[in-house]
Symmetry: C2
Subunit: 332 residues, 2 copies
DNA sequence: TCACACATGTCAATCGTTTATCACATATTT
DNA sequence: AAATATGTGATAAACGATTGACATGTGTGA
């Protein structure tokens, strides 16, 4: 049987109250008793039961983290950063992969509430806004619009896409395509599309949007990409994420289209992972570390001071252009 | 304030006992009251407080999942599969990235115990065996030796490396290198190294082990790999993981060494991710789905029937060779 | 020596749910 | 008519820790 407060008290030869005082550090305590209690705790390998503490009104130090999947390196790196920072603040995460599945997401939300998590970081949603509003818990969102009660952290998607488009233009491309899934409403892709469109207009070029379903398998995506490239019309492609960009590079290689001479490609996300294993890809880098820091610090603040109003409800973080060989032949 | 059992009872016009009976489905109950109670629960959007239930001795339905990192696609896919299967069995996971950090791992272990998780799936460890043995919880390990009390699930690492070596030989390689970190004791890499060595001996060739530190950055790994390739001696490389293999392919490309003509490369892991984005890589495929299923089913069994002894303590799952262009010029 | 900070103890209520024990119905069998 | 099955309620004791109220010391400075 696991030792309880009682056992520690007995072992240390003090009362439970004293032990509790030591653990929670309040009231008057002599160094002597503190030592005795700590020693007893160590000897018994005692761990206070979180459930009992939380039931009494203390925090659970659990945070629900909802993302569609962790296989995508962008989410993997973001979740890992979030986990790290939350750990340093004394929180543990319950990982919820919504898998773009309404039911699963709903179930998770229910479970999180039942488990009395202290807060939620959400980077996915298929549910109605209502269901999130009714949660009654501190929530912070990454890049998704939930409601005006829930703060959003995101990258500067508009500017990112604009930067990407300009980069292709500067590299000499004139038939610049946008490759992504523009039908995901409430998603950042919208803003990226707008950034692309506005920039194309400013450059007095024509927009070309090639739709690609995000939930499709890479194989099917590749097929669609090859069909596009086979026309040999596009000479620049703005991709809404790095993985799609990698598929474009591979398709170009297969079709013997030289990059960047005949075709310039740029991605979006800029994870360390992709940069390490596909260093030729130019991309728009999202500041993953800053995103994670901000998400965590906002959430922790909401938890610790629920009444203190937030200064902002939208935090837009700057992105960076990372130029590599997929847009310019030589590295700078 | 969140509704409690009490509120539901009042709303439904029955006693708390009855509501509890409905929720936990025991004793005699008429359909009528059940309906009344369910309706009240729905109307109040009632969720039983997990903490209180668990405190009373019920399960927490929380599982600690400890891996070094989720950025590696192999771990990402494995964790995602584990999460999926546990979710289907009604469990949530607390994700613990140990980051190869003793202290962090120890802290997590403490937290997991304090949170009364029902069990642990561990795919990493830097701590002593003792600390895991003292946990007193159902634990299942992936590919790491903890103790003889803790069941291990792993792929057939020995045979995988043997298969890989033979594949390179069949493809014509005679100077076959082993690229990995053979100094990670208690790790699967040991068995992979042995599989390589035994096979090389059988083929009457000479072993060549090129050590590469796993915790190094890909950039540093690449440097080390280029040094090896520049000698133009190796004509076949068995990599202990796919990511390293990708670095080898890239290095070869830079050095204008043709693959597979001059150099044959094979990886290990066979994640969907790598296969989708690096389809030219031959590899040894670990059965991620089976591993996840087995880990979860063993753990759930240990949780539900702690006294029932396990039939086995070591489960070795078969691996498969996936032949691609990095070993043979044409796909089969 | 009196007041007060310091140090510890006793006791009991509390968090929200579970569950056992009785009690008391009504219904259905024998 | 007696025995048993079915359905519900009231009550209270757990689960393990927290915390407030109150009591009772010691030491110390004024």
């Amino acid at each position: 049987m696991r030792p309880k407060l009682n056992d520690v008290a007995a072992k240390a030869g003090v009362s439970v109250t004293t032990v509790s005082r030591v653990i929670n550090n309040y009231g008057y305590l002599s160094q002597g008793t503190k030592d005795k209690v700590f020693r007893a705790m160590k000897e018994l390998n005692y761990q206070p039961n979180s459930l009992a503490r939380s039931l009494h009104g203390k925090k659970t130090h659990l945070i629900g983290v909802i993302f569609p999947s962790i296989v995508n390196p962008f989410f993997a790196e973001l979740v890992e950063q979030i986990e790290n920072r939350l750990f340093n603040s004394g929180y543990k995460i319950i990982l919820c992969n919504s898998a773009d599945n309404r039911e699963k997401e709903r179930d998770y939300l229910r479970m999180l509430i039942a488990n009395q998590v202290d807060g939620i970081i959400a980077g996915a949603h298929n549910l109605g806004i209502d269901e999130y509003n009714r949660v009654g818990l501190p929530i912070v969102s990454f890049d998704r619009l939930f409601s005006d009660k829930i703060p959003i952290v995101s990258s500067d998607n508009f500017r990112g896409a604009a930067l990407a488009t300009k980069e292709l233009y500067q590299a000499g491309a004139r038939h610049i395509y946008f490759l992504g899934d523009p039908h995901q409403t409430g998603n950042p892709t919208d803003l990226r599309l707008q950034g692309y469109q506005k920039t194309i207009a400013k450059l007095q070029l024509t927009t070309h949007v090639h739709t690609i379903n995000f939930t499709e398998s890479p194989t099917l995506k590749s097929l669609s990409i090859k069909k596009l490239l086979a026309k040999r019309y596009a000479d620049g492609i703005v991709c809404t994420d790095d993985l799609t960009a990698i598929l474009v590079l591979r398709a170009a290689q297969e079709l013997k289209i030289s990059v960047p001479q005949e075709l310039k490609v740029i991605g979006f996300d800029g994870t360390s992972f992709v940069q390490e294993y596909n260093p030729e890809l130019s991309t728009i880098v999202q500041p993953i570390h800053d995103i994670a820091s901000l998400l965590v610090s906002i959430l922790v603040q909401r938890i610790d001071q629920p009444d203190k109003p937030l200064e902002q409800m939208r935090y837009v973080l700057p992105v960076k252009l990372l130029r590599n060989r997929s847009t310019f032949p030589f590295e700078e």
